[in-house]
C-alpha cells in the first residue's frame, strides 16, 4: 500500500501539473453548463441543440459586451455528487462567469447549494422541483422552467372543469412524482372540495410493472386519473392501460405528456383525449416561435423538443442578464436578473424578483392522433405568472436571508 501511495502520488503530481489552471480569460465570456447528457439523453440532447443555437445566434450578433460567449459543457452522469465536483471544476479551474443547466431536481438543488456556498450565479434550466426557488431558494439561483407547482396548477384548473369526483393518481416514486401529486391534489381539492382521492400508484422510476399497476388502478374505480409518469414508464402505462380499458370512460390529466420527447415515441398509440401540458411545436403560430422553429430546423434538420426551447431560452436569458449587468460580476448579474425580461420562443418572460422563478408558462391541451402520430389539439398557452401562490405565501416559503 505504501509503495503504491508513493507511486500514486507521483502519478498524480504529474497529472496535476499537466492540468494546472489556465490563465484568466480576457477573451470570451465562459459559461459553465452541466447536464445529464448520458443519463437522460432523450431530453438533454435536444436541450443542447437549443443552447447551441442560442449561443451561435448571440455570437453571430457580436456576442455580449463585445465578447463572445463560450460554453464549457459537462456531463454529470445523473449523479448530484459528480455535478458538485464538476461545478468545482468549472468555477475553480475553467473560471466560468456563471453556472447553468441541470435536469434532475436533486442535481439542480446540489448545484444550487454549491453556487450559494461559493457565491456563484446559477441559472437552473430544467429541474422542476419547487424547493429550488422556495424552501431552498437562494440569492444566487434562478430557474427557467415552470415548476411542478405551476404545471400542477394549470392542470388542476382544467381538471376542476371536469365532472369527475373520484380521482386516482399515478406518478414515479421520487420527489418529482410525489410533489406533482401533492400539488395537484391540494390545488384540485381547493377548487373542488367534492373530489375524493380513491387510489394511488407509485411505480419505481423506470420499473413500472404495467399489468398489475393498471389493474390496481382499475380496481380503485376512479372516474379520472392524474398521471405524472413519463418516458418509458409512460409508454408502458399507455399501452397496457389502453389494452385493458383503463382509459375508457375515464379522463386522464397528465403532466408533461404532450412534450414531443414523451409523446412522439407513442406514435399512433398516443392516448387521445388526455389533458396534458406539452409543446405543440407544429402548431404554434406566434412570430417568435415561427422564427425559432425555422432557425432550429435549418440548423439541425430536426424539429425542436421542449428541451430545445429550454436550452435556447436559458442562454438567451443569460445573455440578456450579462448585457443588462454590463459586466460578469456575480452580484451585478444577479441584480440584473431580478425582474429581467427575456424574449423566448414562447414569448416574453420575466424572472420574478420575489423568488427568482421565470414566468415561462406551458401549453395545455388535449392529445389527439393525426396521421399516425400524437399531437396536441385545442391547446392554449398558460402564462406562468398566473399560476403562482400569492406573494405572501412565496415570501413565507423562502428562507430568511
Amino acid at each position: 500500500m505504501r509503495k503504491a501511495l508513493g507511486t500514486a502520488g507521483l502519478g498524480l503530481a504529474a497529472a496535476l501539473l499537466a492540468v494546472s489552471p489556465a490563465p484568466a480569460q480576457q477573451g470570451p465570456i465562459k459559461i459553465g453548463e452541466i447536464n445529464s447528457y448520458t443519463a437522460i439523453a432523450g431530453f438533454t440532447v435536444p436541450y443542447r441543440n437549443g443552447w447551441t443555437l442560442a449561443v451561435e445566434e448571440i455570437n453571430a450578433g457580436g456576442g455580449v459586451l463585445g465578447r463572445k460567449l463560450e460554453v464549457v459543457s459537462r456531463d454529470d452522469g445523473g449523479k448530484p455528487e459528480d455535478a458538485v465536483r464538476i461545478a468545482g471544476e468549472l468555477v475553480g479551474d475553467q473560471k466560468v462567469a456563471l453556472l447553468a443547466g441541470t435536469f434532475l431536481s436533486n442535481i439542480g438543488l446540489a448545484v444550487a447549494d454549491y453556487a450559494t456556498q461559493n457565491k456563484v450565479l446559477f441559472v437552473a434550466a430544467e429541474p422542476l422541483t419547487d424547493a429550488i426557488v422556495w424552501q431552498k431558494g437562494s440569492h444566487y439561483v434562478f430557474r427557467l422552467r415552470p415548476s411542478t407547482y405551476m404545471q400542477a396548477a394549470m392542470l388542476a384548473e382544467e381538471a376542476a372543469k371536469l365532472p369527475a369526483k373520484r380521482w386516482a393518481t399515478i406518478a414515479p416514486n421520487y420527489e418529482y412524482g410525489t410533489s406533482f401529486v401533492a400539488n395537484f391534489k391540494k390545488l384540485l381539492s381547493a377548487r373542488r372540495p367534492d373530489v375524493q382521492w380513491v387510489g394511488e400508484q407509485w411505480p419505481a422510476l423506470g420499473k413500472l410493472d404495467a399489468g398489475p399497476t393498471v389493474e390496481a388502478l382499475i380496481e380503485a374505480k376512479p372516474e379520472a386519473i392524474f398521471n405524472a409518469e413519463f418516458g418509458g414508464d409512460l409508454i408502458k402505462l399507455v399501452r397496457e392501460g389502453t389494452t385493458r380499458g383503463l382509459f375508457t370512460g375515464r379522463t386522464v390529466v397528465s403532466a408533461l405528456s404532450g412534450e414531443p420527447e414523451y409523446l412522439d415515441p407513442l406514435k399512433d398509440e398516443a392516448p387521445s383525449g388526455w389533458i396534458v401540458t406539452g409543446y405543440p411545436w407544429y402548431a404554434i403560430d406566434t412570430p417568435e416561435h415561427k422564427r425559432f422553429l425555422a432557425a432550429y430546423q435549418n440548423r439541425f434538420h430536426d424539429y425542436p423538443r421542449l428541451g430545445s426551447v429550454v436550452g435556447y431560452s436559458t442562454f438567451k436569458a443569460i445573455a440578456a442578464a450579462i448585457a443588462k449587468a454590463g459586466s460578469t460580476d456575480t452580484q451585478k448579474m444577479i441584480a440584473a436578473m431580478d425582474g429581467l425580461p427575456v424574449e423566448t420562443p414562447f414569448g416574453g418572460i420575466v424572472f420574478r424578483a420575489i423568488d427568482h422563478q421565470s414566468t415561462m408558462g406551458a401549453w395545455v391541451g388535449k392529445i389527439a392522433v393525426k396521421d399516425g402520430k400524437g399531437v396536441m389539439v385545442d391547446f392554449h398557452y398558460d402564462d406562468g405568472k398566473n399560476y403562482q401562490p400569492t406573494d405572501a405565501d412565496v415570501a413565507a416559503l423562502r428562507p430568511a436571508k
Binding site: 500514486a8 498524480l12 471544476e89 438543488l109 420527489e175
Partner: protein, 614 residues
C-alpha cells in the same frame, strides 16, 4: 375475487419476463462462475435489435417472430464473441475479476446503443394477432400477456430437456456441479464455456426481444434489468434454472399484490424478498453449496510480512500528496480530496473482500449511512463537523452490527447479494423517508466547519484521517485479528478447529469495514456539502468494487491505486468527450486483459520477480 385472479395472471406474465432474463444469467454463472454484469446489456441489445428487425421485416406474424428469433440469435452470437475475445483471456484471474471486464462491456454497449439507436424510446408494433385483449372474468386481459405466461414454462421445459436429454446438457450440468471434474474428463472446457455464454446471452436477447410488445426499447434497460436478474438468480439459487422460475414467480406475484396494499413498496420489494430468503436459505431456494464460488479469490496470495519497509515509500508519498495538490489549484485539490476519500472507501471494501474473503455488492450502504449520519447530526443536532465525522463511522458500524450477523454466515456471491439487499433497503429508506432524509433531493448545506472551509485545509484533514485509517486498516490486517480473518478465509475448518470463533471474527471484520466506509462517507458528505440517496445507490457500491478489482485484490496497495486510476480516468475522460463511457469501458477492458491481477497486483509480482532475480 376476479381482481385476485387477474393480479395472479399479471404476476405470472411478469414472472415469465423476469425468468427469461434471469435464467441465462444463472446458467452462465453456474458453469463459468462469472458474475456477468453485461447480461443486462445483452437484454437491452435484444430489445433494440428486435426493434430494428421488426421495423424492417413485413408486418406479419412471421415478420415479428422471425425478428424476435433473429435478435436472440444475434445477441447469442455477440455474447459468444465477447467470451472468446475477452473473457477467455482472464479465466485464470482471481474470482470476481471477470466482473470488471463485463462491466467494461456494459459501458461500451451503453454508448454504442445510444449512438446507433438514439436517445428516444423506440416502441415497436405488437405482433399481429396479439394486439388486443381477451375478457377474463369480465376484465380485459392482453392477449400477449397470455402468451408470455406460457413462454416462461415453455423455455423452462426446453432448457430442462436440453440439460437432461443431450450430452452437451449433461456436460453443462456436470460443470455446474464440479468444474474441475469436467476438465479432468478431457472435455474441451473452452468450447463448453463459449457454448454456455452463447446460450445464456441468447436467452437474455430473447428476454429483451419478447419484452418489446410490453415496453419500448430504451437506454435504461441494461442497468434496470441487471439488478433484478441477479436477485432472481440468487433467490432461486445460482445455477438452478427451476429455482430461477420459482423466484421469478415469487417476486412477481408478491409485487402484483404488494402494490395494492403498499403502493410505495415498489422501490424495495424485490430486495426485501431476497433479504428474507437469504436469511433463511443461505444458498437461495434451490441452490447448493457446490454452486458457490471460492471467495473473492485472494487466497493463496501472500500479503507480505507487514514489516516496516514500506515506510520508505509512504513517507515521501504522503509528503508529495500533502504539498502538490494545493500547489496545483482549487479544483485539483477537490479532485484529489475525492480520490483520497474513495481510496479509503475502496480500502474498507478490500478489507472485507480480500483478507476477509467476504465480497460485497452493497458496500455503499455503509458509506451512505456514514454520510447521512454526519448530515443528520449536522442538520438536526447542529453537531460541529468533527462530531459529525465521529457519528459517521459509528452509524455505519451499528448497521453492520445489525445486518452482519446475517451476512457473515453466507459466502461468495450470496454474501455479496445479501449486502446488496441491505444497501437497497437502506437506499429506499433514504429515498422515501422524505421527512427525515429529504428523499432524493437529499440534505443540503453540510459544509465543513469554518476553520476547515478552505479547500486545502479540508484536504489536509481528509488526508490525515484517510491516511491514518489506511494505516490502521493495514495494522489490523497484520495483527492477530487480521491473521485470524485471513486464516478463516483460507481454511475455515482449520480456523474453527484451532479454536477461532470464525463467526465473531468475520462479524467483527464486517463491522470494521463498515466503520471505515462510514468515515469515508462522512468525509464525502462534508466535501460535497450535501448527501443524496445516490451515495447508497448500486452504482457507488459497484464503483468501489471496480476500484478494488482494478487495483488488485491480492495486495493492500490495490484499493488506493484502483481509486486513483478509476476516478482519475473517469474524471479526465468525461471532461473531453460525451462518449466517456465507451472510452472508459475500452480502457477498463484493456487494463483487465493486461493486468489480470490488478494493477498493483501486477506491480507487486513484478517487484517480487525483480527481487528474486537479484
Amino acid at each position: 375475487m376476479d381482481f385476485v385472479v387477474i393480479q395472479l395472471l399479471n404476476g405470472l406474465a411478469s414472472a415469465s419476463s423476469l425468468f427469461l432474463v434471469a435464467c441465462g444469467l444463472s446458467i452462465i454463472f453456474g458453469v463459468t462462475r462469472i458474475v456477468n454484469f453485461a447480461h443486462g446489456s445483452f437484454y437491452m441489445l435484444g430489445a433494440y435489435i428486435a426493434y430494428s428487425l421488426v421495423e424492417l421485416l413485413p408486418r406479419t406474424p412471421l415478420g415479428f417472430w422471425g425478428g424476435v428469433a433473429l435478435a436472440a440469435l444475434a445477441v447469442g452470437a455477440i455474447g459468444g464473441a465477447v467470451e472468446i475475445a475477452l473473457l477467455k483471456r482472464i479465466y485464470r484471474a482471481p474470482e470476481l475479476f471477470q466482473l470488471l471486464a463485463t462491466f467494461g462491456v456494459v459501458l461500451v454497449v451503453a454508448d454504442l446503443a445510444l449512438k446507433i439507436w438514439g436517445a428516444e424510446e423506440l416502441l415497436a408494433p405488437r405482433p399481429p394477432g396479439l394486439r388486443g385483449a381477451v375478457m377474463i372474468l369480465g376484465r380485459a386481459f392482453p392477449q400477449y400477456d397470455l402468451l408470455l405466461i406460457a413462454v416462461g414454462p415453455v423455455v423452462l421445459a426446453a432448457l430442462w430437456l436440453l440439460f437432461h436429454r443431450t450430452r452437451w446438457g449433461a456436460l453443462v450440468r456436470a460443470a455446474t456441479q464440479d468444474r474441475d471434474m469436467v476438465a479432468a474428463l478431457g472435455v474441451n472446457q473452452g468450447r463448453l464455456f463459449t457454448g454456455v455464454f452463447f446460450l445464456g446471452s441468447l436467452l437474455a436477447g430473447l428476454g429483451g426481444a419478447l419484452q418489446l410488445p410490453r415496453e419500448a426499447a430504451n437506454l435504461q434497460m441494461d442497468l434496470s434489468t441487471i439488478a433484478e436478474a441477479f436477485v432472481i438468480t440468487v433467490v432461486g439459487g445460482m445455477g438452478s434454472i427451476a429455482g430461477a422460475y420459482v423466484a421469478a414467480l415469487l417476486v412477481a406475484v408478491l409485487q402484483a399484490f404488494g402494490i395494492v396494499v403498499f403502493p410505495k413498496i415498489t422501490l424495495v420489494l424485490i430486495f426485501l424478498v431476497m433479504a428474507v430468503v437469504l436469511a433463511f436459505r443461505p444458498y437461495g431456494l434451490f441452490g447448493r453449496a457446490a454452486a458457490e464460488p471460492r471467495a473473492a479469490g485472494a487466497e493463496a496470495q501472500p500479503l507480505g510480512a507487514g514489516d516496516g519497509r514500506a515506510w520508505r515509500w509512504v513517507v515521501p508519498g504522503l509528503a508529495l500528496l500533502a504539498v502538490l495538490p494545493p500547489l496545483a489549484g482549487g479544483y485539483a485539490v477537490s479532485v484529489v480530496t475525492e480520490i483520497v476519500i474513495l481510496a479509503l472507501f475502496a480500502a474498507s471494501l478490500h478489507f472485507m473482500m480480500g483478507p476477509g474473503g467476504m465480497p460485497s455488492f452493497g458496500h455503499a450502504a455503509f458509506f451512505g449511512l456514514g454520510a447521512y449520519g454526519a448530515a443528520l447530526a449536522a442538520r438536526d443536532v447542529g453537531a460541529p463537523m468533527l462530531l459529525g465525522l465521529a457519528v459517521a463511522p459509528v452509524a455505519a458500524a451499528l448497521l453492520a452490527l445489525a445486518c452482519g450477523w446475517f451476512c457473515v454466515r453466507l459466502s461468495g456471491v450470496y454474501l455479496a447479494m445479501l449486502t446488496l439487499a441491505v444497501a437497497q433497503i437502506v437506499w429506499s429508506v433514504a429515498f422515501q423517508w422524505t421527512g427525515i432524509t429529504g428523499g432524493d433531493n437529499g440534505i443540503l448545506g453540510v459544509w465543513p466547519a469554518d476553520w476547515a472551509r478552505g479547500k486545502t485545509v479540508f484536504y489536509l484533514l481528509t488526508l490525515l484521517l484517510c491516511g491514518g485509517s489506511l494505516w490502521l486498516l493495514r495494522r489490523i490486517v497484520f495483527a492477530p485479528f487480521g491473521a485470524a480473518l485471513r486464516g478463516g478465509r483460507d481454511a475455515p475448518r482449520r480456523a474453527e478447529a484451532s479454536g477461532i470463533d470464525l463467526t465473531a471474527v468475520r462479524w467483527t471484520g464486517f463491522v470494521i469495514a463498515a466503520l471505515f466506509a462510514g468515515l469515508a462517507g462522512g468525509l464525502f458528505a462534508y466535501s460535497k456539502g450535501s448527501v443524496f440517496p445516490t451515495y447508497i445507490a448500486i452504482s457507488r457500491s459497484i464503483d468501489a468494487l471496480l476500484m478494488v478489482l482494478l487495483g488488485g485484490i491480492g495486495t493492500l496497495a490495490g484499493p488506493p491505486v484502483g481509486a486513483v486510476v478509476f476516478v482519475g480516468l473517469q474524471e479526465e475522460i468525461s471532461r473531453y468527450t460525451d462518449l466517456w463511457r465507451l472510452l472508459l469501458g475500452l480502457v477498463i477492458i484493456t487494463l483487465v486483459v493486461a493486468f489480470p491481477e490488478g494493477i498493483a497486483g501486477f506491480a507487486a509480482r513484478w517487484r517480487r520477480r525483480a527481487e528474486g532475480a537479484t
